[in-house]
C-alpha cells in the first residue's frame, strides 16, 4: 500500500511521517512512535482508553485515521507533564488514589484535561458527563471524579 505524507505535531514536536491509509492514529502513536500511553481496549470506540487530544478536543484514536489528523496538534498522556514535573491533574489522580490497574487512566486524564481546558470551572455534573464515555473495569469512578473536582478547586484558589 502507498504511504502518504503526514504533517502532525505530537506533544509539541512537529513530525512528518509517511503512513499507510489504514493506519489509525493509535497505531501511529503506539507502534511507530512508541508512545504507549494511549491504550487499545476495545478498538471500536466504546471503552475510551485510546483517547487523545486533537487540537484540544478528546477523540478516540482507534477510530481516527492517522491521515485524518493531518495538520493537527495531538496531545497524549506523555505530553501532559512538563519535563519531570507532572501536570497538576496527574498529581491529583495520584493523591486521590484514582489509579488502580491503570489501563483506563490515560484516557480518563486526557478527557478530563480536555474538559478543564474548555471549562476550568466544570462542576461535578459536567465532569461525570464528560467522563461517561470511559470505562474503568476496576470500577474506580468515584476516586477519578474526586481527583478532577479537586483539581478544579485547586486551580480556582490559585487564580
Amino acid at each position: 500500500m502507498n504511504r502518504l505524507p503526514l504533517e502532525i505535531t505530537i506533544n509539541g514536536e512537529p513530525l512528518s511521517p509517511a503512513v499507510e491509509p489504514n493506519r489509525t492514529l493509535l497505531e501511529l502513536l503506539r507502534d511507530d512512535l512508541h508512545l504507549t500511553g494511549a491504550k487499545e481496549g476495545c478498538g471500536e470506540g466504546v471503552c475510551g482508553s485510546c483517547t487523545v487530544l486533537m487540537d484540544g478536543n478528546p477523540v478516540r484514536s482507534c477510530l481516527t485515521l492517522a491521515l485524518e489528523a493531518d495538520g493537527s496538534h495531538i496531545t497524549t498522556v506523555e505530553g501532559l507533564a512538563q519535563g519531570s514535573e507532572l501536570d497538576p491533574l496527574q498529581q491529583s489522580f495520584i493523591d486521590h488514589g484514582s489509579v488502580q490497574c491503570g489501563f483506563c487512566t490515560s484516557g480518563m486524564l486526557i478527557t478530563a484535561k480536555g474538559l478543564l481546558l474548555r471549562d476550568p470551572h466544570a462542576g461535578t455534573g459536567e465532569i461525570k458527563r464528560a467522563l461517561s464515555g470511559h470505562i474503568c473495569r476496576c470500577t474506580g469512578y468515584t476516586k477519578i471524579t474526586e481527583a478532577v473536582e479537586a483539581e478544579v478547586t485547586r486551580s480556582k484558589k490559585e487564580r
Binding site: E20, V59, L63, L65, G114, R129
Partner: protein
C-alpha cells in the same frame, strides 16, 4: 483490531468529491467522523476500496438559519450542534437527541449529524466480529438467506435504524438535500430511509447527503426526544421516541410521533394525530391512548435484534412515546420553546 487496506481520497471541493463518488460508486464510502464506518470496516462488515474524506470540505460543516429555515451541513460535528444556541433555545428535542448520541466530548468532536443519520442499520447478530459471526450461517444482511433476529427465521433482514437524531428530526418535518454529479434533489428526511434492512438508505451509489433542513414550526410548537438505554453514554437505544406537538389556544392541532430503534426505518406513528387531534390540552387520558397506539403500531416490527427482550421493548414503546409527547406538549404550552434543565 486493524483496518483492512483501502485507498484514501481527499477531495478539495464538493465537485471533486461527487466525481470520486461517481467513479467508484458502490466500491467507495464517505468518511466523515468515522465512528460508525471504521468500526464496521474493522469487523469486516463493509469492504470499500476507497474512502472519500470530508476533512477538506468546510462548506459541509456550517449551520445557518434564514427565514425560519435551519440548514445544517451534513458534516457538522455533533458538538457544534450542541453549542449552537438557537437549537438549544428553540429546538430542544433536537438538542436532546444529539446529546444522547454516543459519548459526550468524544464522539461529539468527530461524529457528524450526517453520519448519525446515514449510519448502517444494526442487529445484535450482525454487528459483531468475523469470529462471532463465523459460528452461524450468514444472515440476510451479510448476503446469506436467514435472519436470526426474527423468530422462526425470515427472508428479510430485521435490523434496526439506530440513529438518535432521525426520529425527532422526522417529527420536525426535516428535509434533506442530496447531491450527485447528476444534480440535487430535496426530499423529506423520512424518505432517506428505505425500510429495507439490507440497504437502509435510499441514497444511490453516486449520491451524497449534503444538508439537513429543519423548518421553524412557529409558536405554540414543542419538541422532545426520549431514549431508553442502560447507560447514559455509548449505548444504542433500546427504544426511542421523537415528538412534535403544536397547540392553538387549548387545542392540539398537530402531532408528529416517530419511534426509533424498533424497525428498519424510523417508524412514524400516523394514528397518534387522530387521537390527539382537537383534544383539549389538559386531557390526561389522551397521552395514555397515544402511547398505546404507538405500542400497537411498533409491536409488529420489533424483532430480537438488541440484547433486551422483545416483550419489554414493546411495552417500553408506550412509555417512551408518552414521555416524549408529554414533554413536547408542555413545551408547546409554555410557548417559549425553552428547555428546562433536567
Amino acid at each position: 483490531m486493524r483496518l483492512p487496506a483501502f485507498a484514501y481520497e481527499l477531495p478539495r471541493d464538493l465537485d471533486e468529491a461527487l466525481e470520486l463518488l461517481k467513479t467508484y460508486g458502490p466500491e467507495c464510502k464517505i468518511l466523515a467522523g468515522g465512528t460508525d464506518l471504521l468500526v464496521r470496516m474493522k469487523q469486516g462488515l463493509t469492504k470499500p476500496t476507497h474512502l472519500i474524506s470530508l476533512k477538506a470540505l468546510p462548506e459541509l460543516a456550517t449551520i445557518q438559519e434564514s427565514g425560519g429555515l435551519l440548514r445544517i451541513g451534513a458534516a457538522v460535528r455533533l458538538a457544534d450542534i450542541l453549542t449552537y444556541q438557537p437549537i438549544r433555545d428553540r429546538r430542544p428535542g433536537l438538542y436532546e437527541a444529539v446529546t444522547a448520541i454516543g459519548a459526550p466530548s468524544i464522539q461529539h468532536f468527530r461524529g457528524t449529524i450526517g453520519g448519525n443519520l446515514c449510519q448502517d442499520n444494526r442487529c445484535q447478530f450482525y454487528d459483531q466480529s468475523n469470529y462471532f459471526r463465523g459460528a452461524r450461517q450468514t444472515c440476510n444482511k451479510a448476503g446469506g438467506k436467514t435472519c436470526f433476529a426474527w423468530e422462526g427465521g425470515s427472508d428479510r433482514c430485521h435490523s434496526i435504524c439506530q440513529s438518535d437524531a432521525a426520529p425527532v428530526m422526522i417529527a420536525m418535518d426535516a428535509q434533506v438535500l442530496v447531491q450527485s454529479k447528476r444534480g440535487v434533489r430535496n426530499l423529506p428526511l423520512a424518505e432517506l430511509y428505505s425500510g429495507v434492512g439490507e440497504r437502509p438508505l435510499t441514497l444511490l451509489d453516486d449520491e451524497m447527503l449534503i444538508e439537513i433542513q429543519v423548518p421553524d414550526s412557529g409558536s405554540g410548537t414543542g419538541t422532545a426526544f426520549e431514549k431508553l438505554a442502560y447507560r447514559s453514554a455509548i449505548d444504542y437505544a433500546v427504544v426511542s421516541a421523537g415528538a412534535l406537538v403544536r397547540v392553538e389556544g387549548n387545542r392540539i392541532v398537530q402531532t408528529n410521533l416517530v419511534i426509533g430503534a424498533v424497525s428498519r426505518a424510523p417508524l412514524k406513528i400516523s394514528g397518534v394525530y387522530e387521537i390527539l387531534k382537537s383534544r383539549p390540552v389538559g386531557d390526561q387520558q389522551v397521552l395514555d391512548e397515544a402511547g398505546k397506539a404507538a405500542m400497537n403500531a411498533a409491536g409488529a416490527f420489533i424483532a430480537n435484534n438488541v440484547a433486551q427482550p422483545t416483550d419489554y421493548r414493546i411495552q417500553m414503546v408506550s412509555v417512551m412515546a408518552k414521555r416524549a409527547l408529554k414533554r413536547a406538549l408542555e413545551r408547546a404550552l409554555s410557548g417559549s420553546h425553552t428547555m428546562e434543565e433536567k
